[in-house]
Structure formats: structure tokens, C-alpha cells
């Protein structure tokens, strides 16, 4: 009996990959544990090994094939001494040429058509040149450009230099800027965060990368008690220009200690600025603004968004002001407010709602402190209904705050109570089915939108 060897999942977020190289050929004997192929994931090239002993009956996917979905059969393994029956047609699909595997554009653009992109924050100039970039590349470019512009800017964190970043955000920075400005730290978050704050007091402009924001909890005292408050406590003498950045929120299947959204936590703190972009152009423009800002900025990224592609202005000096929302889609019937990855839930919901004749306006806060509540109030005065969407827990959430603002400032315009969609009020479970239930979903948003529209 031939067993199928399937395209393996080699990282928590991998959905497809490239078969970079076969290390075995048809007819080769293999042992369990032997390396069969090199496979390129979104982050790295990994070796893939055999799970069983046997003989390679057939390679089903040619070397160099891209975009192979996880669990696609890539080879057939036959028992030792067995031959693959040459008559079994179904088992030997013709090998497609490597070229035909290539998707038209490897990165689906999630940017809406230009007409819908009328933005409160950034008015897109006609004639601006755009290029497709992932959020990952946009963040790297933002840091590189600011490091070229200002010698005082440096990057510090775990695995940022030699390893090129645990999530490959700092790719290439060590090569360009050297060890003085791209600094690998020991695993000592509380220590290096405090050290970063001191360096900012000393006149530098640190970018502190947390491998993920879960680990910033080790250091939250320095972020809040030292970075956020010193300007005030010193009567304005001593500011702290520093950026704390890294992935925040749920990743895939990494369970309670590695999957949580800190947006509301940091948004609570006077003295901090807090940013959580969704799209790559905003990630770039806001990170550049954050680095130039004279205040401590908490910059919340998202691992699942890192690989998504968007149109990003090609210009070197593209910045987005902190504290301005962006409208992704205009609509008359209700306002859906979100930020970060929640925006993709909101945009998906808007598509579904449109089929039901409900026109949703999508407001992306982009910044949580200062928050562009004016944009939200203005939109709700038009639509009279509002749903908020976030990954974080429901108690003391961003949605709770917006509900209060709307009650205060737009009470007479509201035709329904504001609905908050949030993560479930539990630690993140590991099991696939429970994780799905714990996360805020597009269906949750659609249901809430219909509820506030009384549909």
C-alpha cells in the first residue's frame, strides 16, 4: 500500500508553502527521520522529514512549486520492496510545471478600491505611487528609513539582530546598521525595557521590540511607571521618546499565555500613546510617526497580519498622524468601529451585510490613545447605529469606552444601544474548536449589526 506524504504545516500560521528542494528522488529508500525536502514557509526554509520507513514511489509536486496548500499530497511512499502499480492512474496525476503553480499575485491585496478608501486621516493624493507590500515589509522599511534619518534611533530586543527577528520584522537591519544600532538582548524584558527608558532619558530614541506583547507584561512596570509618567513627574523636564513594539493579540493555537490583546490595558494609561494598525500603509506611516514622537508609544502589531499584502505609498517620507481614524468603507445604515485585525472582521461583515442590503460604514481607529472619537461620533450621527469590534476581553474594553462616549456625545442620534463585539471572557483555550469559539468572529459582527438594525 502506498502512503501519501502530505504537505506539512511547519509553523503555527502556515497555510501554504513552496517546495524549495527535494532531497530524495523516486526509487530512493528512506528511513523514518530522514530529510525528504526543504520547504519554504512564510518565515523560513525548513527541513521536512519522513515519518515512516519505505521507498519513494512518486514525487507528486515538482521542485520549486509555490503555493502548495498544507495537507496536499506531495509524494507517495511505498513499502520496501513494493512497486507503485503503474496502472493506478489516479495515484499519478501528471506533474504540473512549476510555473503553473504560481498564483497570479502571491499576496492578495486587501485594500479596497480607491473610491472606497476616502480616508479621514490620510487623503490619498492623486499620482501617488503605490507598491504591494506585506505588513512585515512595511514595518521593516519604516524602521530602516527612520534609522537612516536619525542616528539616535536604535533597535533592541530578543533575536532582532542575528536571527533577523523572531517574526522576521527586522530582516536586514543588522546588515545595514550594524551591532551598535541593532542589539540582541538576553531574555530579560524587565531589564532591557528599563534600560531602553534610561537610554531615552539619555537622549537616544530606542525602539524596543517585544518578541510578543505577552512578554511585555514582565516589563509593564517600566512602561507605565517609568516611561509614561516621568515627563509629568519631572514637571516637563524629562520626556521619554521611545517605541515599544511587537505582535499583540491572538496568534494561532498558542493558548492562554501567548494569545491576548493588550489594547485596552495600554489605552488606559495617561502619558502613553497607543497605536494598533491594520493595513501595511498605516503600519508604516504610523511607525514612522511613533519613532519621531517625543512621547512613549506602544505600537501593537499582529502576527496574523504580518504576511498580508496591501498597497503602500512608495515615498520615503510617508507618515500617518497618530490619533486619526480611517474610513475603509462608507455606509448609511450603521457604523462598525474597530482597529487592528478586528478591521478584517468588520470588512468581511460589511460584505455579508451588503448582500442583505445593510450598508455598513467601517471606521478603523488606528490609534487608541489619543483616540479619534470625533470621527466615530461624526459617523454615528450619520448612521445612528454602532457596533464595536475588538479581540480583547469585554470588561473594561475599548468598545465599552466608545459606548460611553457615544452615549455622552451622540445620545439623541442613537436609534439602538451600541453593541460591543469582543473576545469571550475566558483565557484563550488551545483546542482548535474552543479557540474558534473564544475569538470574535465575522458572524458575531454580522449578528450584532443585524441586532442594532433590528433586522
Amino acid at each position: 500500500m502506498a502512503t501519501e506524504i502530505l504537505m506539512p504545516a511547519l509553523s503555527p500560521t502556515m497555510e501554504e508553502g513552496t517546495l524549495a528542494k527535494w532531497l530524495v528522488k523516486e526509487g530512493d529508500k528512506v528511513e523514518s527521520g530522514q530529510i525528504l525536502a526543504e520547504i519554504e514557509t512564510d518565515k523560513a526554509t525548513m527541513e521536512f522529514e519522513a515519518a515512516d520507513d519505505g521507498k519513494v514511489g512518486k514525487l507528486l509536486v515538482p521542485e520549486g512549486a509555490e503555493g502548495i496548500v498544507v495537507n496536499t499530497p506531495i509524494a507517495l511512499l511505498v513499502g520496501d520492496g513494493e512497486e507503485l502499480e503503474s496502472t493506478s492512474e489516479s495515484m499519478t496525476p501528471p506533474m504540473p510545471p512549476a510555473e503553473s503553480e504560481k498564483p497570479e499575485s502571491p499576496l492578495p491585496s486587501l485594500s479596497p478600491p480607491a473610491a472606497a478608501a476616502a480616508s479621514l486621516g490620510t487623503v490619498r493624493q492623486r499620482g501617488t505611487e503605490f507598491r504591494q507590500q506585506t505588513v512585515r515589509e512595511a514595518l521593516r522599511d519604516a524602521m530602516a528609513e527612520e534609522m537612516r534619518r536619525d542616528e539616535k534611533v536604535f533597535l533592541m530586543g530578543e533575536e532582532v539582530a542575528q536571527y533577523q527577528g523572531a517574526y522576521k520584522i527586522s530582516q536586514g537591519l543588522l546588515e545595514e546598521f550594524g551591532e551598535r544600532r541593532v542589539v540582541d538582548t538576553p531574555i530579560t524584558e524587565h531589564g532591557f525595557t528599563g534600560l531602553g527608558v534610561g537610554a531615552a532619558f539619555g537622549g537616544l530614541r530606542p525602539i524596543v521590540e517585544f518578541m510578543t506583547f505577552n512578554f511585555a507584561m514582565q516589563a509593564i512596570d517600566q512602561i507605565i511607571n517609568s516611561a509614561a509618567k516621568t515627563l509629568y513627574m519631572s514637571g516637563g523636564q524629562m520626556g521619554c521618546p521611545i517605541v515599544f513594539r511587537g505582535p499583540n493579540g491572538a496568534a494561532a493555537r498558542v493558548a492562554a499565555q501567548h494569545s491576548q490583546d493588550f489594547a485596552a490595558w495600554y489605552a488606559h494609561i495617561p502619558g502613553l500613546k497607543v497605536v494598533q494598525p491594520y493595513a501595511a500603509d498605516d503600519a508604516k506611516g504610523l511607525l514612522k510617526s511613533a519613532i519621531r514622537d517625543p512621547n512613549p508609544v506602544v505600537f501593537l502589531e499582529n502576527e496574523i497580519l504580518y504576511g498580508r499584502g496591501f498597497d503602500v505609498p512608495a515615498a520615503d517620507d510617508y507618515t500617518v498622524p497618530i490619533g486619526k481614524a480611517r474610513i475603509w468603507r462608507e455606509g448609511e445604515d450603521l457604523t462598525i468601529v474597530s482597529f487592528g485585525i478586528g478591521v478584517s472582521r468588520a470588512l468581511e461583515a460589511a460584505e455579508i451585510l451588503a448582500d442583505d442590503g445593510i450598508r455598513a460604514e467601517i471606521v478603523d481607529l488606528r490609534s487608541l490613545r489619543p483616540m479619534d472619537t470625533e470621527a466615530v461620533v461624526k459617523s454615528v450621527m450619520k448612521t445612528n447605529r454602532c457596533v464595536t469590534v475588538e479581540e480583547g476581553w469585554p470588561v473594561g474594553s475599548i468598545g465599552n469606552y466608545l459606548s460611553a462616549v457615544l452615549m455622552q456625545q451622540a445620545f439623541d442620534w442613537l436609534d439602538a444601544p451600541v453593541a460591543n463585539c469582543a473576545g469571550k471572557d475566558v483565557p484563550m483555550p488551545y483546542a482548535a474548536n474552543l479557540e474558534k469559539l473564544a475569538l470574535v468572529s465575522t458572524e458575531d459582527v454580522v449578528a450584532a449589526a443585524k441586532a442594532v438594525c433590528y433586522r
Binding site: P12, S32, A51, E158, I187, M217, R253, Y430, A438
Partner: protein, 330 residues
Amino acid sequence: MPARKKSSGPKATVDEMLLYYRRMLLIRRFEEKAGQLYGMGLIGGFCHLYIGQEAVVVGLEASAREGDKRITAYRDHGHMLACGMDANGVMAELTGRADGYSRGKGGSMHMFSREKDFYGGHGIVGAQVPIGAGLAFSDKYKGNDSVTFVYFGDGAANQGQVYETFNMASLWQLPVVFVIENNQYAMGTSVSRASSTPDLYTRGASFGIEGETVDGMNVVAVRDAGAKAAKHARSGAGPYILEMKTYRYRGHSMSDPAKYRTREEVQGVRSTRDPIDQARDMLVEAGHADQDSLKSIDQEIKAEVNEAAEFSRTSPEPDPSELWTDVYAA
């Protein structure tokens, strides 16, 4: 292939040696299987394999006794198997199923067993160290003579809370054995790039904690060092540090291509210091095992691991109502 050193030095009886061999082999095969299930998408998220480090937990568990406690980080499958937790239950937790140790809610990094005094399974580097001292505090408080084994990595050894813990543990003479599993890398960072001094076992010196370095690839050496350290802690003399020199063969987690070291480096350790090969050689050289008996052990272990894999695939997903349980104790 370079020759392994002839086994000399610490000795164990035949039965002991066979037991260690089996336990190490079980961990190795279990981890290989877990890696395969990950590739098939049955295990998700982070999965940190213990392959290469088997002698550390197997040797130390040989010096533990009833009532002793253990706690570690996310690279925890080996610790669980070594302290007698059931392979089926561990594998089913890896696949996130109802029959897993945490009923599917914790996953690879977060597993616990009260019954076996295994206190996790912790995802935050260094966090288990003070918690482990707290377990020891509870034993001292109750007046029994149990010891807690607190495992952490070379990378974790740089976390501040480790030193806060060293101070308290020494100040209050807590019955704890700190086990630094120095596998030479913290993710992609070698010890020399992260630590100002290379000898991690001396890190307790300024707190008055004795320490020693141990060949963590030699299960008997580990066991003997563990017995000495546990005796020290049990006697009321306070904490003790063991720095286990070991090596992880695989990447940090399943998604680490491990480009920070050469294939030759890994191969070199595998072919000269492998803990299981060493144990096998000791058995064969002393005439206590031949190819046949080794093969039958191999097959038994393979069968046990295959059963665990099958169990973990057929165990049901947790009931959706589990989402809301265990947030608060009644």
C-alpha cells in the same frame, strides 16, 4: 563517525540501566511522533521538542521520591513522561482533545498533573522559577521533607526573577533543586552571546547557593548529581544548583529552521554524546543486552507511542461548553 568515549565513571545496576534506557527511548520516540503529528496539522501552535535532552529528566527523576515536586517551562513533554504521566494523556493534550491532561485547554506548553506532582508546563520564560520555590516553601511550611525540582533553560537563567528567587530560597533555606538545562541556545542565541559569564552553575554563588556542572548527556552522572543535590535540599541545607550540559537536536520549536548553528555541530553531538546511544553502549558492553533484546524494547516503545498517537487522534474534541468552565473555582 567519531567514536564515543568508553563508558567509565558512574555506575548503575542492570535493572536501573534498562529502566533509564527505556524511559529515554520513550521520550525520544514520543517526541519524534509529536513532530510528525505537527507536520500533519494534528498539533498546532508552538511545539518544543526535548530530543537530545532525555538524560536530564530521566536521571533526575531517578533521584526523586514520592511527594517530590517538579516544575518546568514549555519544553515539557519529557518531564511529564519521566515522572510517570501517561503518554496517551500527554499526546491527547498535544492534539487538543478531551482526554488530554488539561482537557485540551492547555496544549503542549501548559499541562499539569496533581497526581504526579507535576506543576507545569509554563510559557513565560523564567516564571516557573519563583513558582517552584513557592512549592518548596509550601513543603517547608508543612514540615515534610519533600524537595522541588525546578527546571529552567540557559536563556531563562538571565531573567531577573531567577535571582530574586535565589535570594529568597537561600535566605529561607528552601528545599529546592534548581536545574539549569543548558542546551547552549535560547532560541537562536548561544549562551556566549547572552550571558556575561559562561558558568551558569556559579550564578548562585553571591546568594550562598552551591552549584555544580554535570554531563547532562550521561544519565548516570545526572542521577548521581541529582541524588546529591536532593539530599542536600532534603536535609534542610537549602537550595542547590545543577547546571546540566545538554543539547537540543531539533529547532527551538517546530517553526525554527535553526540556521544559527551548523549541521556538523548537531551531528557531532549526536554521534559522540547521544544519551540513548551511550546508555545502549553501556548495556551492550557489559553484556546485559544484545541486539535482540534491544530490538524488542524498541518495538515495545514504538507500539506504546503509536498507541498514544492513535489515542490522540481518536479522542474527541472538548465539548463546546468547556470554553466557559474552569475560569473560577467553585
